[in-house]
């Protein structure tokens, strides 16, 4: 299996606290309870390791995404998606300080599209066309974030168009770095991720990153696909 494109080239996972707590940096997490679930734990440990704070100096708590609980302040630091929980908290009227793991040397890709080696070998055209359509959609979304809410509502009438628009707007810097094409991947980023994952013992032995992803389709699409 290989990655063929990355949509969130910066992970939307961030850590945040009510502005009143004065917490603005990971250094401020020391001695605090931190809500972290699933891969947030990995990111948190990697980030804290980067600034030299060992895991025994902070406490992890596993909680559901509960805005009331966040507002109560008994757990000051919360891990969550910049594009959803943080957005909800801000919409609820809270002043929130956000710590981006990306600012502290943890550079992980978010939503990434993979294809099996068999599919790539047997039906590369299908992969290419799927990817091209997907990227076209994301490009449109980045260029027209205000159109996204009504579109989501069309397929999911229970969705909140304004929230969807806000989520899309918040997603733009994660998707579009302004430096290269949407979906584009960088070798040094894959190398960095491998390193981070080994440090965190997610990977127990070295992995040849050149076997993990392929630029074949992105290069083809951006060479030929000009609307």
């Amino acid at each position: 299996m290989r990655a063929v494109a990355t949509l969130f080239r910066r992970s939307p996972t961030v850590f945040f606290a009510l502005a009143g707590t004065g917490i603005t940096r990971p250094q401020d997490f020391a001695g605090k309870k931190i809500r972290a679930v699933s891969d947030q734990t990995l990111i948190l440990h990697a980030m804290m390791a980067r600034i030299g704070i060992r895991p025994d100096r902070y406490t992890l708590v596993s909680l559901p995404s509960d805005l009331k609980r966040f507002a109560s302040g008994d757990v000051p630091v919360w891990g969550g998606y910049l594009t959803s929980f943080v957005l909800l908290a801000r919409q609820a009227g809270h002043q929130v300080n956000v710590v981006y793991p990306d600012d502290y040397g943890v550079h992980l890709y978010g939503d990434t599209i993979f294809a099996t080696d068999e599919l790539i070998d047997d039906n590369p055209d299908l992969v290419r066309r799927f990817l091209r359509a997907t990227l076209k959609g994301w490009t449109y979304a980045v260029e027209n974030p205000a159109q996204i809410g009504p579109m989501v509502v069309k397929y999911n009438p229970e969705a909140d168009a304004a929230l969807e628009n806000a989520e899309m707007t918040a997603s733009i810097p994660l998707i579009n770095t302004g430096e290269d094409h949407i979906g584009w991947m960088k070798p040094e980023r894959w190398t960095g991720m491998e390193k981070t994952l080994r440090q965190q013992n997610v990977l127990t032995k070295p992995v040849d990153v050149s076997q993990v992803y392929t630029m074949q389709f992105l290069e083809e699409i951006y060479r030929t696909n000009r609307k």
């Binding site: 600034i51 981006y100 502290y104 733009i172 810097p173 994660l174 579009n176 302004g178 609307k227």
Partner: protein, 754 residues
């Protein structure tokens, strides 16, 4: 039908087309060269603007680089950094950092190159101090400005900053100590608005011109004029000009821009910045003067064309007027005007044509007159011929009508057949066949009316008739009528043409009655012949058998007379004489009768006989009577004929004997002659006797009929009956011509060859 174009129109059209082609050619040439020149000017202007902007951008970034390099070169700054990096007390460190930042802030703000600065630890990429306090402690080890800024002054192209969610452009430079150690990397976010202003700055009076930068990811780096929302680093642009520019080229292009509007675009690759600069203007605006020029040419051209049309029309009229006059003359001639002489207005080809026309018209008029005279004569002939024809037709119709009624009313059956089938039948034929109408038979096979055994023969005969190998056919047949009965008919058929086909016209007569009459006649003849034979037999038998008793009467009467001679008184003798005389007469009668009857039964077959010799024999037989009466018998040359000699002798003998017996006052003179008359000889026996009354013409030839008493002229009255019977047996006739008192001539005929 489409009306043909007149000469005037044609000539005008040709002249006008020529003028139009000329004007269009010249106009197009003027327009295209004007447009090319304008395009070149516009392109040149745009290129100038692009070059100017490129220079400004380069200057601006170079200045930024120089500026930050100058700051980094400050010994003051280097000292601060050295101190900062070596300080262990956090409070002291903070104080040093604050002082450092205070100094750096002097270089930031509006109208300055930089908005903010940060000092970055060269090994880890950690921000050790920043005019934006929130950034301290962050790591930028993967950022381009950090990586490049460790080596030399650098300006990173705009990128999207997550924290501020804005496009950011960052300049950086290494901070190197006097002893050539890399102390830190100094980085600062540039006032990107300045770049925007440099690029967006517009000069001149154009309305639709604009300029923007595009990065290698096809994203707008500066805001395009005609996009309302912020497009920087958000919107992509894939126009042809951008593609060419990003491929490292510079040039001019007329093509649709990102809005789909035709534009003249100058694209320019900025190698130092790795950006594409686009300077463009809408084609509609840029080429507006060219369009106006085009309209002017069009209007002027239109006017010239109108003028050319008027001139062309006038010219065409001068050529076509004499032709029209000629045409009018021809039309007048066509309408019948003959005293025509068109004025000859020129000596050119048209003048010659007019003269020729006049000659031709005169000649034609003369010929037409002759023709009219002929036509009138011809018409007269046609009228008379038509009348004749009408009369003939009437006669023909009448004749046809007569013929038809003749056929229709004919008592005989008449029908026509072709291809062995009836095609016409008259009412008599319909009746003959026992049909209700002709339709019942028309189309049916003629052979059905014949006995099947005759079909082949009839078919063959009809074929010969159809092919006219026989002029006519006649036969007697039996027809099978429709009711199954048969009828005897006499048929005559001739070949004819009927409705264009070979056919046969057939006349049929019902001969039932004739057949019956014939049969009756035959039966009557047979009866008569048998009766005649019986009678002859009777006569012969009677006369023969009567002779015996008569001889006894005669003999015994003779014996009686002789035996009692002298012993009988007068009276008795007289009685005996009467008896003897009666017996003698009876003997004569019987002999004659016997002879008469023997003609039919005992006659010899005919043979060639010399009638002269026969006459001699008759003469000898009558010698005593001739001698006694002193009769003179003469004759002409007589022929040889085929006859029963003894019978013919008898005829001569009887006729001569009668001539002598019925003599007149003088001695009898009898002349025998013969002449040829066709197929027979006519013999004549002429006398000078008492003659015979005409009313006895038949009676004299009847047996035992006498015109005189026995006392006047003796005889049995059988002589001429005998002659008639003999002549008729030989196929001849007998008659007489007589003048009572002066003689009689008997005629009889003998066929030449019987």
């Amino acid at each position: 039908m489409k009306r043909p174009l007149t000469i005037t129109t044609k000539l005008t059209v040709v002249f006008v087309l020529f003028a139009a082609a000329l004007l269009v050619g010249v106009g197009l040439l003027a327009y295209t060269s004007g447009r090319s020149a304008l395009l070149a000017t516009v392109s040149s202007n745009l290129s100038s603007i692009a070059i100017e902007k490129q220079a400004a951008i380069d200057t601006w970034t170079e200045e930024a680089k120089a500026h930050i390099a100058v700051i980094a070169a400050s010994r003051h700054l280097q000292d601060y950094i050295t101190t900062l990096l070596t300080a262990t007390d956090p409070a002291k460190t903070r104080a040093i950092a604050d002082r450092l930042l205070t100094d750096l802030r002097l270089w930031t703000g509006l109208n300055k190159h930089f908005r903010s600065f940060m000092l970055i630890e060269p090994e880890s990429g950690r921000i050790i101090a920043s005019t934006d306090p929130g950034n301290e402690g962050k790591f930028v080890e993967d950022r381009l400005y950090f990586i490049s800024g460790r080596k030399s002054p650098y300006v990173q192209n705009p990128y999207y900053d997550i924290a501020t969610q804005t496009p950011v452009m960052t300049g950086s430079t290494p901070v190197i100590s006097a002893d050539r150690r890399l102390l830190a990397v100094l980085a600062g976010h540039l006032n990107i608005d300045e770049l925007d202003q440099i690029v967006a700055r517009r000069t001149g009076l154009a309305v639709t011109d604009e300029a923007f930068l595009v990065n290698t990811s096809h994203l707008f780096v500066t805001q395009p004029r005609f996009v309302a929302d912020s497009a920087i680093l958000k919107r992509g642009i894939y126009s042809e000009a951008v593609k060419r520019g990003l491929a490292g080229n510079s040039g001019v292009l007329s093509a649709d821009d990102y809005r789909g509007i035709p534009a003249i675009t100058v694209y320019r690759w900025l190698p130092k910045r790795e950006l594409c600069l686009i300077v463009k203007i809408d084609e509609a605006e840029a080429l507006a003067p060219s369009r106006r020029f085009g309209w002017t040419i069009l209007l002027f051209g239109g006017f010239l064309l109108l003028l050319a049309s008027v001139i062309a029309f006038g010219l065409a009229r001068t050529i076509s007027r004499p032709l029209l006059a000629l045409k009018e003359g021809a039309a007048r001639f066509g309408r019948g005007e003959r005293n025509l002489h068109l004025p000859v207005s020129s000596e050119d080809e048209i003048g010659q044509l007019t003269r020729e026309f006049n000659t031709m018209a005169a000649s034609l008029a003369e010929k037409e007159y002759t023709l009219r005279v002929h036509a009138e004569q011809l018409e007269q002939m046609v009228v008379s011929r038509t009348a004749e024809l009408t009369r003939s037709e009437a006669l023909l119709r009448e004749s046809e009508q007569k013929f038809r009624s003749l056929i229709e009313d004919a008592p005989d059956a008449i029908y026509v057949h072709a291809d062995y089938r009836y095609v016409y039948l008259n009412p008599a034929a319909v009746k003959l066949f026992g049909a209700a109408s002709a339709d019942q038979l028309i189309g049916s096979a003629i052979l059905e009316r014949y006995d099947p055994g005759l079909h082949e023969q009839i078919r063959e005969r009809m074929r010969l008739l159809y092919e006219e190998r026989r002029k006519s056919l006649a036969s007697e047949r039996f027809y099978h009528r429709l009711d199954g009965t048969t009828v005897p008919v006499e048929i005559r058929a001739v070949p004819i043409r009927y409705d264009g086909r070979n056919a046969a016209l057939t006349f049929v007569r019902d001969i039932t009655e004739r057949r019956r009459a014939e049969q009756e006649l035959k039966r009557a003849v047979t009866d008569l012949e048998r009766s005649n034979r019986d009678l002859e037999q009777f006569a012969y038998v009677a006369s023969h058998d009567l002779q015996e008793p008569l001889r006894m009467v005669s003999s015994y009467t003779e014996l009686l007379a002789r035996h009692y001679e002298g012993r009988l008184d007068e009276k008795a003798r007289k009685f005996i004489d009467y008896a003897r005389d009666g017996a003698v007469r009876m003997q004569a009668l019987i002999n004659d009768l016997l002879m008469y009857s023997r003609i039919g039964t005992r006659g010899r077959p005919p043979e060639a006989v010399d009638t002269h010799a026969l006459l001699g024999e008759a003469h000898r037989n009558l010698a005593a009577q001739i001698e006694e009466n002193r009769a003179i018998i003469t004759n002409d040359g007589l022929p040889t004929v085929r006859a029963d000699a003894s019978q013919l002798v008898q005829v001569f003998q009887n006729l001569i004997s009668n001539a002598i017996k019925y003599q007149g006052e003088g001695a009898p003179h009898i002349h025998v002659a013969a002449r040829e008359d066709g197929q027979e000889w006519v013999f004549s026996v002429r006398d000078n006797g008492i003659g015979i009354e005409k009313q006895y013409a038949e009676r004299v030839f009847v047996i035992f009929q006498r015109l005189h008493t026995r006392q006047e002229y003796p005889g049995t009255g059988i002589g001429l009956a005998l002659c008639k019977r003999i002549v008729e047996r030989h196929g001849g006739r007998i008659w007489f011509a007589s003048e009572p008192g002066s003689g009689t001539t008997f005629f009889f005929t003998i066929p030449k060859y019987t």
